[in-house]
Amino acid sequence: MIRRDFALCALRGLIKPRDLVVAVYQSCFDWLALCPRDLNYVSTGAMGQASSHALGLAIGSPDRQVIVLDGDGSLLMNLGSLVTIATVRPQHFLHLVFENGVYEVNGEHPTPGAGKVDFAAMAIAAGYQRAVCFSELGAFEAALSELLAADGPVMAVLKIIPGVAYPRDYAYIHSEETREKFRAALNRIDG
């Protein structure tokens, strides 16, 4: 199992200034603490919608790398988006699924099919260009550069356990100020 904050620290080391990061729930709160930046897209609004927001960003900014920090419970709510994303085939699209088998911020109840569902196989069956699963941090760290450079859409499923519990600042992720900061950064000439 991989500590989520360690996996996010590995990603932080490879993030480029123009990359767009779409994040949800605890992965989002951890990411905001570990890598605060204007091009973090965190106002996804409704559970399950991260991958679809990310697709919209990818269509609107096809030259940018888009990275989704999704959860297993969230993705289960929007499995059809895998097919939509694979059909559009955004070239620079890395879909990270943090799999812990529970609805972490909603009482830690188990997700349906916890431990049995194969998200990587689903992504491949939907038409993703590549999908891999990691349960060891070293293997993820070794593969991450290549996954970011690969033709998308690409999925990486991470079998995770919580690390440091960063505060859940819902007011920040839902604030207009957050969205306006993202919009301004996206539309900056060299942003």
Binding site: Y41, S43, T44, G45, A46, G48, Q49, S52, H53, A54, L55, G56, L57, I59, G60, S61, N78, G80, S81, V83, T84, T87, V88, H174, E176, R179, F182, R183, L186, N187
Partner: protein, 182 residues
């Protein structure tokens, strides 16, 4: 494909005119789940029109998110669907379009409404309840029943993007397509 107009019924909206309005408003991306009301008069022509990028989604709430995200790069989009898809997407619309006040523009075919009835007078429960639901959400809606309504489309979309507000067109009769290109 063309459609005949039955005597006594108001003339249905024209597909070419609707598409021309979308183009005038700068809409470049159409996100859709097929709807039988708008299939022949809008979605099939749009699918063959190189001026549009058509994103076929599996479920309508995906489209709410896609349209909202596209607005950040000033890319104008329209979510084309049936009222069943609108109903299925209410939480996404509530959060992403309304709570966040983002310019998500939707065009909704009212399946089950006949040309000789009003929306409120429709025999279909699924049709009658749509305007009150949108009113309860404070979501602006514009009825497109006849060809005289189509000029309202472009200005309404422009206003939605200028004010960052959501918008929903309700298509009460199947648009006719006469075979031209908008």
């Amino acid at each position: 494909m063309s459609a005949s107009v039955e005597p006594g019924h108001p003339a249905p909206p024209n597909g070419e005119a609707i598409i021309a309005q979308l183009k005038e408003a700068g809409v470049g991306v159409i996100v859709s789940v097929p709807d039988i009301v708008t299939s022949d008069g809008l979605l099939w022509p749009i699918s063959k029109d190189p001026d549009f990028q058509l994103i076929r989604v599996c479920k309508e709430d995906e489209g709410v998110s896609i349209c909202a995200a596209l607005s950040y790069s000033s890319t104008r989009a329209l979510l084309l669907m049936q009222q069943t898809g609108l109903m299925d997407s209410l939480n996404a619309i509530r959060a992403i379009a309304m709570d966040y006040r983002q310019p998500v523009c939707m065009m909704v075919g009212l399946q089950g409404k006949t040309p000789d009835e009003t929306i409120f007078g429709s025999a279909s429960y699924g049709v009658r309840i749509i305007p009150p639901i949108l009113d309860a959400m404070a979501l602006t809606h514009v009825g497109i029943e006849t060809d005289t309504d189509t000029p309202r489309i472009g200005p309404a979309i422009n206003n939605a993007y200028e004010t960052s507000d959501a918008l929903c067109f309700l298509i009460g009769q199947s648009p006719v397509w006469t075979g031209g290109r908008a």
